[in-house]
């Protein structure tokens, strides 16, 4: 293993933590808490690619920008895709 390979266990833990993020985002959407949605999107935008989840990084970018625009309909669709991604990973 090179010094910068990501152990599979770390990748699995990463995805596990995103389940919590998804739950928090769903609650935030119900409460119109766009700040939390934008924060979660921003954080995942930064770390998903690092952990080798490029598609999740793209989703997170959309999550952040839709949260900043307070686009509830789009946010709902993005969270559905977020859930599907986590399930299949």
């Amino acid at each position: 293993m090179s010094t910068v390979d990501i152990p599979n266990e770390a990748r699995l833990k990463y995805i596990e933590r995103r389940r919590t993020d998804l739950e928090n985002c769903r609650k935030a959407l119900l409460q119109d808490d766009f700040k939390t949605l934008a924060q979660v999107g921003h954080q995942i935008k930064g770390n998903a690619i690092t952990f080798g989840f490029e598609e999740l990084g793209i989703l997170a970018t959309e999550l952040e920008s839709s949260a900043l625009e307070k686009d509830k309909k789009q946010l709902g669709l993005i969270l559905d895709r977020f859930g599907l991604y986590i399930t299949k990973t």
Binding site: V4, I6, A10, H42, A48, I49, F51, G52
Partner: protein, 175 residues
């Protein structure tokens, strides 16, 4: 610091880990001082993977502060060779963090003496775009660069490594 036990003429000596060639287990002659890095970051995933990778590749010592106030406390107790600064922290952004740290350093009577001698290089480490992270000039900190979080791990480690080894010396554009 991680130490390795080395047997010299039956005398057991404890010396820092990176003074040794890991294959031959002989001391490295041109030993460089272990770089002390402060990483100011609140993302647990990034903390775990980045600190482990940097320590393994560059044999540096890394302290982590997860919020601006913890960072301020650590800076008043210890001098660092490099600060890796997340731009969006709970409560304050990157520039506000270091401006507040400046205030804390000025008021601290038992500050490590190095703080008066040299500026600490700061690398901004963020998911935001570079042009969204404009730091303010301060007395004790010198912004030397920007590394995006949104890239593969090996690219991040290589980019940060250039700052750890002082290979990049250009100045970051300040506000």
């Amino acid at each position: 610091m991680i130490t390795t036990t080395y047997n010299v003429n039956s005398a057991m000596m404890n010396l820092p880990f990176n003074q040794f060639n890991q294959k031959t287990m002989k001391p490295v002659k041109n030993f460089k001082k272990t770089k002390k890095i402060l990483m100011i970051e609140d993302d647990q995933d990034m903390i775990a993977i980045i600190t482990k990778s940097l320590k393994m590749k560059y044999f540096c010592s890394i302290d982590v502060a997860q919020d601006p106030f913890e960072a301020m406390n650590m800076m008043t107790e210890k001098f660092y060779d490099l600060i890796i600064l997340d731009w969006q922290l709970p409560g304050l952004n990157g520039t506000e963090t270091l401006v507040q740290a400046e205030k804390g350093l000025k008021l601290e009577p038992s500050l490590p003496i190095q703080w008066d001698r040299v500026k600490v290089p700061v690398v901004i480490f963020s998911s935001s775009k570079k042009n969204e992270c404009l730091p303010r000039r301060t007395k004790h900190f010198d912004y030397v660069g920007f590394v995006s979080k949104a890239q593969p791990l090996h690219d991040i480690v290589d980019a940060l490594g250039e700052y750890i080894h002082d290979e990049k010396s250009f100045r970051y554009q300040s506000a």
